[in-house]
Symmetry: C2
Subunit: 322 residues, 2 copies
Amino acid sequence: MPETHVPSTATSDPLRILITGSAGFVGSHLVERFLNEGHTVIGVDNYISGQVSNTDLFREHPRFTFIEADVSHGIPYTGDKLDWVMHFASPASPPHYQQFPVETLMVGAQGTQNGLELAHAHGAGFFLASTSEVYGDPLVHPQPETYWGNVNPIGVRSCYDEAKRYAEAITMAYHRSRGVNTRIIRIFNTYGPRMRPDDGRVITNFVHQALRGEPLTVYGDGSQTRSFQYIDDLVEGISRLMMVKYHEPVNLGNDEEFTMLQLIEILRDVLQKPLHHDFHLLPSDDPVKRRPCLMRRREVIGEFLAKPLNSGIENMIGDLNN
Amino acid sequence: MPETHVPSTATSDPLRILITGSAGFVGSHLVERFLNEGHTVIGVDNYISGQVSNTDLFREHPRFTFIEADVSHGIPYTGDKLDWVMHFASPASPPHYQQFPVETLMVGAQGTQNGLELAHAHGAGFFLASTSEVYGDPLVHPQPETYWGNVNPIGVRSCYDEAKRYAEAITMAYHRSRGVNTRIIRIFNTYGPRMRPDDGRVITNFVHQALRGEPLTVYGDGSQTRSFQYIDDLVEGISRLMMVKYHEPVNLGNDEEFTMLQLIEILRDVLQKPLHHDFHLLPSDDPVKRRPCLMRRREVIGEFLAKPLNSGIENMIGDLNN
């Protein structure tokens, strides 16, 4: 999938990269890609929402080191000079961050700052995983990076949304006042192998219900839409952005939308078996619909051939069946 | 000014109150009021924007203790059980917080959390000084507390605005998940004795220029409006809110607006001397106009008799001439 004519970590000299949240869904895919490309990776996680099995995948790899630590309290790295500090640690799904509100706030503030300080000390780049949730309940569709968002600062989701907005603000402060070479991405809905089964988002729920032979839970009438970015496309965007000096936030996501009923059709085709679904009342905190404006992504890191939803779901299910 | 029929700290049993930012403009007025009412006060400041002269005012008072500390790194208090932790530490005027962006972000995150932890450990109330800046460049006028704001998360002011939004989010998280008895106020433009002469806001600029006999600097055509809350009115609101169990944010400000040219008229009347002014180009980062919706304040803590602007300015000048 990496296109060789576009600069990315695939064509870079070997790098030494520290990744916080390395045992998380996105973090573990970054570890995999960077190791495959010949880079050296230091993974850090405290397993508050990451999974030990994601560390086990790489534990024997000669260029992988793992540090079990809560990065909100410091990043105990004492090794050779780093080229990149990538801050991907945080509970990211609503059930997780609402279970750990204070920890989520801390990893956005102290965790981000500890990463920035480490990057500054090493003269390394700092890469922040922010989120489409900084747009909150958007009043503008689709959302360009210049949209300032509509977030309730005191709502039950604010522990995540405000933590990420703060993380962006402190990243820009270190860039402006201390010269750190920073990147910020706003990640939209992403799926793929190694998502936690209890992630709580529709694609995981559907896949696991289908595999268990249960009826799929459809909220409302199933006509609401979501967009889904396959994990490899996100990782490709990250890898390219590392090679471009661009410090403002960049949206990474997929702007093709599917209704819940279309998603069920696709899942039925992939599994080649009949699927049933039940309609349930739309919960009051149904996730807000967001759709990325991807103009800046195209300008900054070039065109993408996004993986089609059916083949992404195929990969996800193939991984579960292994 | 305290009305005896409205509950406030004026009629409360003696309290032990720790105030961060005690050497700041607002902090020092809180110290003064609480000492006058018979309470015990522990002041904490690191003088990043507070003034030593504000500590000197109370240094000899038998019920006042001062701790010089940066609350972002911890609050080294080991004394008797506290009734209140009041977090008023932060650079608050644009020239100050833009000079100290990282420190401003930290006192909003780590500083607030250290205060919440201290309050939790003592079973004390926690009082957060938030700001009208959480509304950013508002699209709704006047601003009720239910308005979510319009803040640029990566702008040069975001070090203050996002720090305060984060502070509100973590205060609500400690309230919801750890049961801390919290209060949040959003302070609008406030003036009075002991503001820093280099505060940078119009009322301080005008007063000091007038006293030096210089022409007053008017940006634009002077028709833009501001509202000004006298410090004692803010302190009265704080004192009342401490006695009411209300955990959502409350706006504290004055909703009467004056043009810059009206402000000059008032200053001329107070000083009883002719004043001259020069017109200058409106700077690109001219402070955004905000006006508080005060309905919630009235509902939660009752009516106010706000001090008129001319007599507030009189007090401010009287203090400077002492």
